[in-house]
């Protein structure tokens, strides 16, 4: 091949060198067929799968929400039994947090980060494939248990002693705890991949001050995952041990402590909010910049605000425990730190407002969702400051006020930007545009339905309606508002339905998008839509924060990577200077088989601790296949 070992001439590039592109395509393509589909390590294919699966879980979780609203629409309704209701709200919360919110944000990163930093695949692509299959298995475990009427019924937080061996007989809490293991293994694997991709696989010249803000947001998020999720793994493992082999971590009569569970859970649970929110910060920044056609105002303050949010996120967990009887000094500290997080949040909001103020906003569908995000998230943030205050929190704790607050924060802070981001990046992922008309309908219904559903819950909470009750007596003054909320939830669901219809329709029938339909500035738009298997024909050389806006007629590129092998450029952490070429692994069935072996081991260990011992054997076999050495370029050299 003409380019091996030497730099192509400008004439080669000008001619397009179709042979070279054909070889690149053959090197990086995933062949057709089921086996190949199970073996692929292409980050784009895995990212799309991840996103689609997470949205399926969103839809299923939404159906459960509608079921709950049907039950609560009327006092003393009998549509759903108390036991089934407990399962439904547990699966709804667990599903939305562990199977939708965190995975979908990481999935967006799996797809976008390698494109945005200018590389051809994510770091550790086989681990990436494994993480998807493990995530899917965890989701199937939870939903199968619901179908079999054995789903967890202890809330998404699984507080002990309710989830402990004494009050939670059967295997329901074990299923919850093991579902956590599945999703955390998957989340941690992706976090490691993102950190290493951002640190080491950035295009030449992409120094720290030229990293797109979305990539920064995912880097901070990945570190949050790495630091926070061991807490929930420790907690869920301890819970399983208490239930399976009789350890006494949470048993007060033998020196354990129920509050230990809450400390561990919320040490993870509060950063979890920012694990979901920070990617949205990155998405909003990217979209606002594009739809105002100017760089985001305050790049450095925005990045510092995200890092500050990440650090402060670990100092807030006790504000979930104000009614647990902790010392007053501790509560005061956590009140102060909870309020302090308003500073970086405010910085972000003002940076976006300044960008909008100084630019000429184009109100396409993604921008509508950003406006929806700004309004909704600010309201959620204000009620957040309210519940950070001990006296107020004591009054509204475990009422619908809190339900309203966290839905404002989570849906306002994450789902609105995410839906906007789907409209924004859909053309890149599929090569087709989504419908602007249906997009506006979807936004109108979702925004209206959301506020009509959740704002009245603040009032229900102030009137004293508790969370997690499956019904209420007619004498209490909650029936009218509950009916109103339930009807509004249908409007919200209709909005999501329009969105899903738009996605399904546009995949095949949307108008062709072209490489850069929004005239955006970052590298993912420098290639055709959808991207070819190798992402970039030549690795770009980055000379500014907005390479597509500042490079003029021609994008600077680097040549010299081999075409007949999967090669990536490794660059230095700070300056983004090229250091080495690195082989990227070929497709392999072993990550899929390893995920099956691991899943069988984890599910069997719900029933017997010996499953860990015997299950380790097939896991070891599949890992051996995974890591079996092949001839490498270094062998030849």
């Amino acid at each position: 091949m003409t380019w091996f070992g030497k730099t192509p001439s400008p004439a080669d590039l000008a001619a397009g060198d179709e042979k070279a592109e054909a070889l690149l395509r053959r090197t990086w393509s995933t062949p057709a067929g089921v086996l190949a589909a199970l073996s692929t390590v292409d980050h784009k294919i895995i990212g799309r799968r991840y996103i689609a699966t997470a949205f399926v879980f969103l839809m299923l979780g939404g159906v459960l929400a509608l079921a709950m609203r049907l039950q609560l629409a009327f006092p003393e309704a009998r549509f759903i039994s108390a036991d089934r209701y407990n399962q439904i709200f547990t699966v709804h919360g667990s599903n939305m947090m562990f199977l939708f919110a965190v995975p979908v944000m990481e999935a967006m990163a799996v797809y976008l980060v390698p494109l945005m930093v200018g590389t051809r695949n994510i770091a550790f692509p086989r681990l990436n494939a494994f993480s998807y299959w493990i995530f899917l298995a965890g989701g199937l475990l939870l939903w199968t248990s619901l179908a079999l009427d054995t789903a967890p019924d202890v809330g998404w937080f699984a507080y002990v002693p309710l989830a402990g061996p004494q009050y939670g007989p059967g295997k329901r809490a074990d299923i919850w705890a093991q579902m956590i293991t599945f999703t955390e293994v998957s989340a941690l694997a992706v976090a490691v991949e993102i950190v290493v991709t951002v640190f080491k696989l950035r295009a030449p010249g992409m120094s720290l001050d030229r990293i797109p803000i979305f990539v920064w947001s995912m880097l901070v998020t990945a570190f949050l995952v790495i630091m926070a999720m061991p807490a929930i793994m420790l907690a869920s493992s301890s819970l399983i041990l208490d239930r399976l082999v009789g350890t006494q971590f949470f048993n007060p009569s033998e020196g354990g402590d129920a509050l230990l569970w809450q400390h561990l859970f919320w040490f993870f649970g509060h950063p979890e909010v920012y694990i979901i929110f920070l990617p949205a910060v990155g998405m909003v920044s990217a979209m606002i910049s594009t739809f105002t056609q100017r760089p985001t105002f305050g790049y450095l303050p925005l990045v510092l605000a995200m890092i500050a949010t990440g650090v402060l996120a670990f100092g807030l967990w006790v504000h979930h425990m104000f009614v647990a009887g902790l010392p007053r000094v501790g509560s005061s500290f956590f009140t102060a730190s909870s309020m302090a997080i308003a500073i970086p949040a405010g910085t972000q909001i003002f940076c976006w407002l300044a960008t909008l103020w100084d630019g000429r906003p184009i109100f396409k569908t993604p921008m509508l969702f950003i406006i929806g995000f700004l309004i909704t998230f600010v309201i959620g943030g204000l009620t957040g400051v309210m519940v950070a205050s001990v006296p107020f929190d004591t009054q509204v704790h475990d009422t619908y006020f809190v339900v309203a607050h966290f839905h404002y924060v989570l849906i306002g802070g994450s789902v609105f930007p995410l839906i906007g981001a789907i409209y924004y990046w859909f053309p890149k992922m599929t090569g087709r545009m989504m419908s602007e008309r249906l997009g506006r309908w979807a936004f109108g219904l979702i925004f209206t339905g959301f506020h009509l559903t959740f704002f009245p819950m603040h009032m229900l909470g102030l009137q004293g309606m508790p969370r997690r009750v499956y019904t209420y007596p007619p004498e209490l003054p909650w029936a009218g508002l509950n009916l109103f909320v339930s009807l509004s939830a249908v409007i919200l669901a209709a909005g999501f339905l329009v969105f899903f219809i738009d996605v399904l329709r546009s995949v095949r029938h949307g108008p062709p998008a072209g490489p850069n339909p929004w005239n955006a500035s970052t590298l993912e738009w420098a290639m055709p839509s959808p991207p070819p298997p190798y992402n970039f024909r030549h690795i770009p050389v980055v000379e500014s924060l907005e390479p597509l806006w500042t490079s003029g007629e021609a994008l600077p590129v680097a040549t010299g990577l081999r075409l007949d092998r999967r090669e990536l450029v490794v660059s230095s952490v700070t300056a983004g200077e090229p250091e080495a070429r690195e082989s990227s692994p070929a497709d392999s069935i072993w990550p899929f088989l390893a995920a099956i072996a691991t899943s069988i081991m984890l599910i069997a260990s719900i029933f017997s601790p010996w499953a860990v011992v015997w299950g380790a054997i097939p896991v070891a076999i599949t890992l051996t296949g995974w890591f079996w050495p092949k001839q490498t370029p270094e062998d030849e050299s």
């Binding site: 041990l241 971590f249 050299s637």
Partner: protein, 200 residues
């Protein structure tokens, strides 16, 4: 979009060593995950201790002998471990092979005193919260040792194969040495918690 050539990458080495290797950063990230897990487990130990009227709960402090022998053995193993890392950097295949065999043997030797540590605790995992947390700490670290032994044995086999003598494998040896140092380092606070805190 049109392109213009700005850089030639063909002269770059086909694999980066040290911090230029992806595996180094992956290993570091996993050490951060595990380190956080160990730190939290130690926090749980002190949390439970703060609640208990006496510590250890209904048990004498663990016997020191097995744990101390293991600690000394682990500290001793750091010397050949550093040498293996140095030899890998120098790409000295003969010494790397010998060093990995020594490290695999040292790892297996470490499991002998570890086996005696569990009975030396004088308590079962299900007796009370103290028993649960000390068994968990020891169990976590044993898993740590076992996984590293497996890694070392597999790597040793690879270094004796035709795939051994290349930059990527030497990098793997360096990363394995880094991880073993981490195994030793994490043991020191655990050793203090399990054996000396009950004697304070």
């Amino acid at each position: 979009m049109k392109e213009r050539i700005a850089l030639d990458l063909s002269k770059l080495p086909p694999h980066g060593m040290g911090s230029a290797s992806l595996t180094f950063w992956g290993t570091s990230a996993f050490m951060l995950i595990e380190g956080t897990g160990f730190a939290l487990a130690i926090a749980v130990y002190f949390y439970l201790m703060s609640l208990a009227p006496q510590w250890p709960i209904k048990a004498p402090p663990p016997d020191l002998l097995a744990g101390t022998i293991l600690t000394l053995l682990l500290l001793l193993s750091v010397v050949p471990n550093m040498l293996v890392s140095r030899w890998a950097k120098q790409r000295d295949l003969r010494k790397v092979r010998a060093g990995l065999v020594v490290m695999a043997i040292l790892g297996l030797l470490a499991l002998i005193p570890r086996a005696f540590e569990f009975p030396a605790l004088h308590i079962s995992w299900d007796d009370n919260a103290y028993g649960s947390i000390v068994w968990t700490l020891l169990g976590l670290h044993t898993t740590h040792i076992v996984t590293d032994i497996v890694d070392t044995v597999v790597l040793a086999c690879l270094m004796f194969s035709k795939h051994g003598d290349n930059a990527r494998r030497y990098g793997d040896v360096e990363d394995n040495a880094l991880y073993w140092n981490f195994v030793v380092l994490t043991w020191l606070p655990l050793y203090g918690c399990i054996y000396w805190v009950p004697r304070l």
